[in-house]
């Protein structure tokens, strides 16, 4: 695949994930909190791809979450959180490849960090009336959602991504 086709496939995949996350998953929302599909893709990228590819994918996914309607300011919040998540996941690559439990722990940690980073940005950028208790509740539900979906989605993503974007095997 040429790099142009890969970029196109990547764009379609990300747009599909963000659209599903915003327009379909509200059906299963718990107190308005939905599973973060882009986060799971980012963790999968961190676990299965070379770091430069993973961080670019993470940045693009996060930016789409920032830009897709009905997102509000600040733009860049999720992009920042997702790049950090990709770095975290890449650090866990060997451990998570060894055991599914490690994979789940990685997702839990990444979900916690991503939502916390975004919450911090939202608090600093002045969302009035956001209570710490409320924020912690949201983070907890988000982590539970992401861990609940990880066993189904993470293995598919880690298999799909290298096939789509990196036909040659990863340098070991």
């Amino acid at each position: 695949m040429s790099s142009g086709v890969r970029a196109g496939v990547l764009a379609i995949l990300l747009i599909a994930l963000v659209s599903v996350q915003y327009a379909a998953l509200d059906l299963i929302a718990v107190h308005g909190v939905v599973p973060n599909l882009v986060l799971l893709l980012t963790v999968a990228a961190g676990l299965s791809m070379d770091l430069p590819v993973a961080v670019v994918l993470a940045f693009c996914g996060g930016l789409l979450m920032d830009l897709a309607p009905p997102a509000m300011h600040p733009v860049g919040g999720w992009a920042l959180a997702m790049v950090i998540v990709a770095l975290l996941a890449a650090r866990q690559r060997d451990d998570a490849a060894d055991s599914p439990i490690q994979g789940l722990l990685t997702v839990a940690a990444c979900s916690f960090v991503a939502t916390s980073v975004y919450a911090f940005i939202a608090l600093v950028s002045g969302a009035p009336g956001l209570g710490v208790g409320q924020v912690l509740g949201v983070i907890l539900i988000a982590v539970l959602w992401d861990v609940a979906l990880a066993p189904w989605l993470l293995p598919s993503f880690t298999k799909l991504l290298p096939k789509l974007l990196q036909p040659e095997p990863i340098r070991r």
Partner: protein, 289 residues
């Protein structure tokens, strides 16, 4: 163990890439927070909405069969369209009916001329909520399947059959974003139905059934009474909300020690966890708002 394998640590060039991406993200956050440059990131968002709006509408349409399971009253798309049309009509009539109550209460003061012009100079465009902002983004926004092409503009009032929903804060050509009144950033001027006293309603940010608004009265001596209807105060076309739209009912009243005046908790009339058909209030063609 993993820490000892230096070979897989980020290479210099990928560290530079990570640094660059993090800087761009921080730069974007900065740009969107500075009022002078926030229009740039808004433009970026409107552009993205042109692609993502239709994608979301498509996904939302694909989930309709599942949604229909819970809305078993509607059996086919013909009926759905009827419901959309009738709901918007109903919303308008409801608003007029509620307004009629209010107008009666202050018939003597007003003679209603300005207001009647205002009221008749408006119409509703029906729209469907196609996406909800996830709560982990810490904002309560939804997107609609219509945009500037259908005549939607910024700051327009959005209502549903029960009451006030919010206002339009961003528009692309085929989708628009609505800030719900339960968002912590939302402030609505409200008026008590029984005595015309005015105050400000702020959202608490809760999205579920317990989504409530806090009402602070402008006049410290006024105590709202339980079950009193609160309607929008409106500002003759200068502010975002049109006047006289019912917002909610007073649920409880409390006093904060050390502060003058009473605060009231308002239960909104609209159900924000099940928004579907809404109406956007637009000026009638040829009328001046």
């Amino acid at each position: 163990m993993a820490r000892l394998r230096f070979g897989r640590r980020p290479h210099f060039h990928s560290r530079r890439l990570v640094g660059a991406l993090l800087s761009v993200a921080v730069l974007l956050i900065g740009l969107s927070l500075i009022p002078a440059t926030s229009s740039w990131t808004s433009a970026l968002r409107d552009g993205a909405g042109t692609v993502l709006g239709p994608a979301e509408a498509l996904v939302h349409a694909a989930t309709q069969p599942v949604r229909k399971l819970s809305e078993y009253t509607e059996s086919n798309s013909q009926l759905r369209d009827d419901v959309a049309r009738l709901s918007s009509q109903n919303a308008q009539l409801q608003r007029e009916a509620d307004q009629a109550d209010l107008d009666r209460a202050r018939l003597v003061e007003f003679e209603g001329l300005n207001k009647m012009t205002n009221q008749t100079g408006l119409r509703l465009i029906p729209a469907r909520v196609v996406a909800m902002g996830p709560v982990q983004s810490f904002s309560r926004t939804v997107s609609l399947d219509i945009g500037s092409r259908q005549g939607i503009g910024k700051d327009m009032t959005v209502v549903n059959k029960d009451g006030l929903v919010g206002r339009v804060i961003a528009v692309s050509d085929s989708s628009s974003t609505v800030l719900l009144i339960v968002d912590t950033n939302s402030v609505v001027g409200g008026r008590l139905g029984s005595n015309n006293e005015i105050g400000f309603l702020r959202g608490r940010g809760s999205f579920n059934d317990s989504g409530r608004l806090d009402l602070d009265m402008l006049d410290d001596s006024v105590t709202p009474s339980i079950d009193d209807l609160v309607v929008t105060w409106g500002s003759n076309g200068k502010g975002p909300y049109v006047a006289g739209v019912p917002i909610g009912k007073v649920e409880s009243v409390y006093a904060t020690p050390g502060q003058l005046g009473k605060h009231a908790v308002i239960k909104p009339l609209a159900d924000f966890s099940a928004l579907d058909v809404v109406g956007v209030v637009v000026p009638k063609a040829g009328s001046v708002r």
